[in-house]
Amino acid sequence: MNDIAITSGRMNHGVDPVLHAWSWEIPLYLYLGGLVAGILFFSAFFYLRRREDVFPTAIKTAPLFTPFMLAIGLLALFLDLTHKLYFWRLYTTIRWESPMSWGAWTLMVIFPLSIIWAAFWVKDVFPRWDWKFSFIANTVNYLARFKVYFAWALIAFSAILGMYTGILLSAFNARPFWNTSILGPLFLVSGLSTGAAFILLLSKSPAERHRFSQIDSFLIGTEIFLIIHMFMGFLASTSVHIHAAEMFLGGPYTAVFWTLVVGLGLAVPLFIEIMELRGVKVPVVIPAILVLFGGLMLRFVVVDAGQSSRWLYKFMEQLVF
């Protein structure tokens, strides 16, 4: 067979080594976005089903963390921008073709929503909480009359937030590993799963833990199914997509993906949660932390591998993060 050797004049230090455009900021944001989407979804969903007494952590406590998580995520996004003083340009246009544009607008809606939703529950979680200024208390009390509408809005926008983090990547045809429509549902399910794990971590009520262990096991199962589907899709596709899948099936990402994401992040917590549901006593902290860790690793691996998978200049393929 013929060998192909490519000598490239692209090796300017400013060009090729930095073509990994996105480093830790983007995966961290995608992770926090998914986690927040999961927490808010469960909170709003069980609020609408009037389960406040059964699932107090999911409905009241967990959402208190979401504005801070989103703030960290947004800060990470801001740090990633290289032309920072122009960030407001995002909000002078709406471009429907660009997932990043409607993601920016989604954040513009869901960030204030998460603050208001958290404000509704502060007094339930901290009974001695004082808003200091009466107009804040009055505003919160006034808005609380529309809690049901806020809950419906949260369900819609948390689903969009959870999906869009995946669609953002899958819209890039230039990066074969991202170019699969499974990524949207995969990130949504992973976000819901990390959200459920976060609630598990905080919850003290056995009934709530039991239910969220069930939910999380189901979500982990779905995630494994989607991952298998994703690779089947790649392997049945074009040569660049097969090549992208091979980065995980013997290539540079094999070890990190199958041990950290699938093993520690999905299979082990699934096994522990099933054992737990069958009555074996295992500290619930272990599977919850593993799921949260696995979700973070999934974002890091996918963001990094996507940028390594390419149509041209395959010699640039490498593990960077």
Binding site: R10, L81, K84, Y86, R89, M100, N173
Partner: protein, 177 residues
């Protein structure tokens, strides 16, 4: 009007004059380049064939970079030239991730930069700097909608290819074979 470039792989010797001309003309900072040379050797020694290409932004007709830009900074100019408006670019790097040709980079000043087909020269009726300096006349720039332009004639009379047409972006830099 549709601007395009044809590069004769039989004439190109890979001298990188086009790279230096571009860097000089466009004040490209040190360590960066808007165009570059790729030498592809195929075969096993001693039976080898060599193709040298001067590569750059393909000014695609269906540009993923324009599509994914959240602010509209990446846009089409006259003749289908893809440009970045520096004052609208926030440096999110979505366009860098979206380009299958890896033709974009982050300028040290923060915005994303790339080949402009030297639109400032073209508007004055000149060729892009890389085309004008090519010592072997391997590069042709022009309007492919004009049947009498040099580039239209070259594309009619020579076989040519584009890079990864299967990426579906309708690239407009043609390589004469």
């Amino acid at each position: 009007m549709r601007y395009a470039m044809a590069i004769d792989t039989k004439r190109c010797v890979g001298c990188a004059d086009c790279v230096v001309a571009c860097q000089t003309e466009n004040n490209v900072p040190e360590g960066y380049c808007r165009d570059w040379i790729v030498e592809e050797t195929i075969g096993a020694f001693p039976e080898l064939q060599l193709e040298i290409r001067s590569e750059r932004c393909n000014h695609c007709a269906d540009s993923p970079c324009v599509r994914c830009c959240p602010t509209g900074a990446s846009h089409y100019e006259e003749g289908g030239v893809v440009l970045v408006n520096h004052d609208e670019c926030i440096g999110c790097k979505a366009c860098i991730a979206s380009c299958p040709y890896d033709a974009r980079f982050v300028h040290p000043e923060g915005y994303v930069d790339k080949c402009t087909f030297c639109i400032h020269r073209v508007r004055e009726g000149k060729n892009p700097a890389c085309v004008d300096v090519c010592p072997t006349h391997a590069m042709i720039f022009g309007d492919v909608d004009d049947r009498n332009s040099d580039i239209s004639k070259a594309l009619r009379t020579r076989k040519y290819k584009t890079l990864i047409p299967e990426a579906g972006t309708e690239p407009h830099v043609f390589y004469l074979l």
